[in-house]
């Protein structure tokens, strides 16, 4: 078995027992990336030299210093997370040459834990999309079937972990951008509670919804990485000031007495029958192990997608206004005056999907439309929060499909934005309510992975990880896919 095939928690143990070195692991992962990435297309930037240098440094430190359990473990980073001195493009022409002069909060944490950054991972441009087809640079393919999309927007992060070209990775989730690709690629992805991971240095798409989170091939790896990145940051006014437990140490697959809520709205029209069945089978397995199934109602779910696209696009239209060719990134070659420079730069620098969202956001905020769209969407969001609160009076976690279907084929939805948007129906409510949710593999339909989503109360990540751990105990940890 090659080193890249092991999970992070196994590698951590092997490192501490001196059965291998970080340099060997890093080399194995980089080789794997070299061997697979032409087909998978997960990486935008591979930093081979820096990664090996860092790995050797960590190897040298080992034995002399107490190291973090993830020290020396390779990690891939979504390309919208600012990495000091390392290209951060958001998969956009607009930032094709942008090198941040500072590290994101999570990168400071990752570096402090002595993890080895192997590179930056592909995504939908500015995290807008559900297939990673919106990247300016390349398309990422699903390792389970190269004709299929890996999901999005963190498609590179999920595909790399699934293919073994990364052991673990970081992504971001604004409306499902971690959970959907995790589900499509058959890996574990956690979207943490809003405020538990600092957004400082995450290039903003929708500030009130964005959250950075971990990917892993196992729940344990995901818990370990989440423990690294969570925590209060006084640079982020929306960061929660609280203490976090050691999620890994507290992992427990015992579901006796766990009340699992099943909302009928997530099992209705628009959700593939075989996906529903696969998810419900997994839930029933948990019931056999002592969990209790409770039927709940979340009636505002039917408006969630609409509210989500209004709120996220409104914020995006403002967040992406700073890309104007003045301070960084792309600037058009020829222009006559300031307005011409702005318009050409932005028209040439952004892809069509980003333009559509900016225009939708501009529209819903514009004079005369604000109340009918933005304000209404915010009120719907409040209803969604209320319904979740009352549901969590009856259950501990809510179980749903992470996606309405398994991965679709490349190009299948690209011409029809609303059809593409519908892929987010199972995930957006969680961002609107600021809740944590996890997607864990629970079987396959037609050889393509299906993800079970657990949604929890704010800051109930431990319960989610434990629930996912119980599912993993039934279906097994994921292994790198042959491509």
């Amino acid at each position: 078995m090659e080193l890249y095939e092991y999970s992070a928690h196994k590698l951590s143990k092997m490192l501490s027992e001196k059965k291998c070195s970080s340099e060997e692991i890093t080399k194995s992962v980089l080789d794997r990336a070299a061997a697979t990435d032409e087909k998978v297309g997960a990486y935008l930037t591979v930093c081979e030299e820096n990664a090996l240098k860092k790995a050797r440094e960590v190897d040298e430190k080992r034995g002399r210093e107490t190291l973090h359990p993830l020290a020396g473990i390779p990690i891939g980073i979504k390309d919208n997370i600012s990495t000091k001195g390392l290209l951060t493009t958001c998969a956009s022409k607009m930032l094709y040459n942008y090198v941040p002069p500072f590290d994101a909060f999570v990168m400071k944490k990752v570096n402090a834990a002595d993890m080895v950054v192997t590179g930056k991972l592909n995504m939908d441009e500015f995290a807008m999309g559900s297939s990673t087809e919106n990247s300016y640079f390349k398309k990422t393919h699903n390792p389970h079937n190269l004709d299929c999309v890996p999901g999005g927007s963190s498609g590179g992060s999920a595909a790399a972990v699934a293919a073994g070209s990364a052991v673990i990775s970081l992504g971001s989730d604004t409306g499902g951008s971690i959970r959907m690709p995790a589900s499509y690629c058959g890996v574990v992805g956690l979207k943490p509670t809003y405020g538990s991971v600092s957004r400082y240095g995450l290039v903003a798409f929708a500030s009130s919804l964005d959250q950075i989170g971990p990917f892993g091939r196992s729940v344990t790896d995901t818990a370990m990485l989440y423990s690294v990145i969570c925590g209060h940051d006084n640079m982020d006014a929306t960061s929660a000031d609280r203490e976090y437990p050691d999620f890994t140490a507290l992992l427990n697959s015992d579901v006796k007495g766990l009340k699992i809520g099943i909302p009928e709205e997530y099992y209705g029209e628009g959700v593939d029958n075989s996906v529903k069945e696969t998810v419900m089978n997994a839930v029933k397995e948990l019931e056999k192990r002592g969990a209790e199934i409770v039927n709940i109602l979340l009636p505002s779910t039917k408006y969630a997608l609409n509210a989500y696209y209004i709120i996220s696009s409104a914020e995006a239209s403002s967040n992406l206004a700073r890309f104007d060719g003045v301070k960084y990134g792309y600037r058009t070659e020829n222009f006559t005056d300031l307005t011409d420079m702005y318009e050409k730069t932005r028209s040439e620098g952004f892809g069509d999907e980003v333009k559509r969202r900016i225009m939708l956001g501009t529209f819903v905020l514009s004079s005369g439309f604000f109340d009918a769209y933005y304000k209404k969407a915010k009120l719907v969001a409040l209803d969604i929060v209320k319904e979740f609160n009352s549901a969590f009076g009856k259950c501990d976690v809510i179980a749903t499909p992470a996606t309405p279907a398994t991965a679709f084929r490349l190009g299948e939805n690209i011409g029809d934005p609303t059809k593409m948007y519908a892929a987010d129906i199972c995930t957006v409510t969680v961002n609107i309510a600021g809740l944590p949710a996890i997607s864990v593999p629970c079987g396959k339909v037609n050889d393509m992975p299906v993800g079970l989503q657990f949604i929890g109360r704010k800051f109930s990540e431990q319960i989610l990880l434990n629930s996912a751990f119980a599912v993993e105990n039934i279906f097994g940890e994921s292994k790198p896919i042959n491509v």
Binding site: R199, A204, S207, A237, A321, F323, K327, Y328, F370
Partner: protein, 483 residues
């Protein structure tokens, strides 16, 4: 037809906090271009704002000082527009819930008091600075001023002339200085204003269409801009034209304004709540505490000076308009009152403060705080004069010595022999000697040339080396001449 001018003002004042409003960069003026900047105030992707607590406190203080109600629960909003000096392409400001609203200030004009309504006061960030020069390959942007904290003070359209507007601006400025939240340096642009002008036939109660003027950079410029615009509108109405609601740009050098944009091109700022910042909450105890911090304000001071201390209106205003001056005066009054030195009258203190002290400050350009003079020393000088220990002339000598760093008044009096002679027999001897030596002048006086008296008294003073009490000399000379 007779017309009435209606003026409303939007005043922007830079706050003198140590750091900027949303980042911990130094808040300073005049430093080398682009040296007081960081990733946050230059709008780098992924950066987030954090609100400076002093900015909130200062704005609440201004709210108290202008009799506003305080919205102790409020938020910030984004104002979206593109310009190179605005790196994020939105200004963080406040829209529907300002920190302070519904207040007023009383202004004095020609001895009459008038109340001007304050619509609202809100906090926001300043933009950077555009630099223009033929040697440049375009316009240059200096980001140092980006994120400098501002309060915007919006008045009701309560002013009826440029003189009232000037009085209002002067009042605001002195309040800002009194509560020490702004340096109020016009030449550095730390107070700027936008002017709204409309006219209507006298007697009418309806408002005319209002014109907003930008680029008004001084208080005197505001007067010129208002007068010009009011005339322009009146002339247009006289010609039978209609006034359009529009924005015009004031050119103070040419003394004219030009159309900037019409109502139809009005910018659509697409305000929405700033998602990177959450609720601003100032506990009511803190609101009260800040209220108690407000010192006696200029209007109250002037009233007290006139009514309690018996100063003239003009002297009271002169003292109150300058903060260091009124601080010195108030302290002197307090010291003299405290020690029961009834002999030191406020009137004499005011003469000194407005006379020698102000003259010295004006001539040297120094602040009182930068000189050795303090209230104790000034009180002592005035007291020594009033109790006839020294002459007024000697008082001036002592004042000069103090300003040169010699603050031991008793020693100055001894060293320079400034003690005044009030002993009758000593003065009588001097008078006798002088009269004997100036028989011609004695004859002149007796022959009807009464101005010889002044000469003779002067000779007595000279003979006493200035130490004789002049009144006493005069009394004795007269006694002899008429005797």
């Amino acid at each position: 037809m007779e017309y009435e001018t209606i003026v409303g003002l939007e005043v922007h004042a830079e706050l003198n906090t140590k750091t900027k409003i949303y980042c911990n960069c130094k808040n300073a003026f005049g430093l080398e271009v682009n040296t007081q900047i960081c990733p946050i105030c230059t709008g780098m992707p992924g950066t987030l704002p954090t609100l400076n607590e002093k900015v909130v406190e200062y704005a609440v203080k201004m709210g108290h000082a202008t009799n506003c109600s305080i919205n102790n629960v409020c938020k910030q909003d984004r104002k979206n527009y593109f310009y190179p000096d605005l790196p994020k392409a939105y200004q963080i400001s406040q829209s529907d819930i300002p920190l302070c609203e519904h207040g007023y200030v009383d202004i004095m004009l020609n001895g009459e008091e008038k109340r001007i309504g304050i619509t609202r006061i809100h906090i926001e960030e300043d933009a950077g600075k555009m630099l223009h020069n033929d040697a440049f390959q375009g316009s240059l942007v200096d980001f140092n001023r980006c994120g400098v904290p501002l309060i915007e003070i919006v008045s009701e359209p309560d002013m009826r002339s440029s003189a009232e507007a000037k009085a209002y601006l002067d009042t605001l400025k002195s309040i800002l200085q009194y509560i020490d939240i702004s340096d109020c340096k016009m030449e550095q642009g730390s107070i700027r204003c936008d002017v709204n002008v409309s006219v209507r036939p006298k007697g009418s109660t309806e408002f005319g269409k209002r014109v907003e003027m930008k680029n008004v950079n001084s208080f005197s410029g505001a007067m010129r801009a208002i007068d010009y615009e009011a005339n322009r509108q009146i002339e247009a109405l006289e010609r039978g034209e209609e006034i359009n609601q529009e924005t015009r740009r004031w050119d103070d050098q040419k003394g004219v304004n030009v159309l900037l944009r019409t109502k139809e091109d009005a910018q659509d700022y697409r305000y929405f709540p700033e998602p990177d910042l959450t609720t601003i909450y100032v506990p009511l105890e803190k609101v009260e505490e800040l209220k108690n911090d407000i010192p006696e304000l200029p209007n109250a001071k002037i009233k007290r000076y006139v009514k309690v201390l018996g100063l003239s209106q003009i002297d009271a205003e002169l003292i109150a308009e300058n903060l260091p001056r009124c601080r010195l005066f108030d302290e002197c009054v307090k010291i003299c009152g405290y020690f029961g030195k009834d002999s030191v009258s406020p009137k004499n203190l005011s003469n000194w403060v407005l006379g020698d002290v102000s003259k010295y400050m004006n001539e040297t350009g120094k602040d009182i705080a930068d000189t050795p003079l303090d209230a104790n020393l000034l009180c002592k000088i005035v007291e020594l004069i009033e109790t006839k220990v020294i002459s007024n002339t000697s008082g001036k000598v002592i004042f000069e010595e103090i300003m040169n760093g010699n603050t031991d008044i008793d020693k100055i009096i001894e060293d320079k022999g400034l003690r005044q002679i009030s002993d009758d027999s000593a003065i009588e001897k001097i008078v006798n000697d002088v009269l004997a030596a100036n028989q011609k002048s004695v004859d002149d006086y007796r022959g009807g040339k009464t101005n010889a008296l002044g000469f003779l008294v002067g000779q007595c003073m000279k003979a006493s080396k200035g130490q004789a009490n002049p009144a006493k000399c005069k009394e004795l000379v007269l006694k002899y001449l008429n005797g």
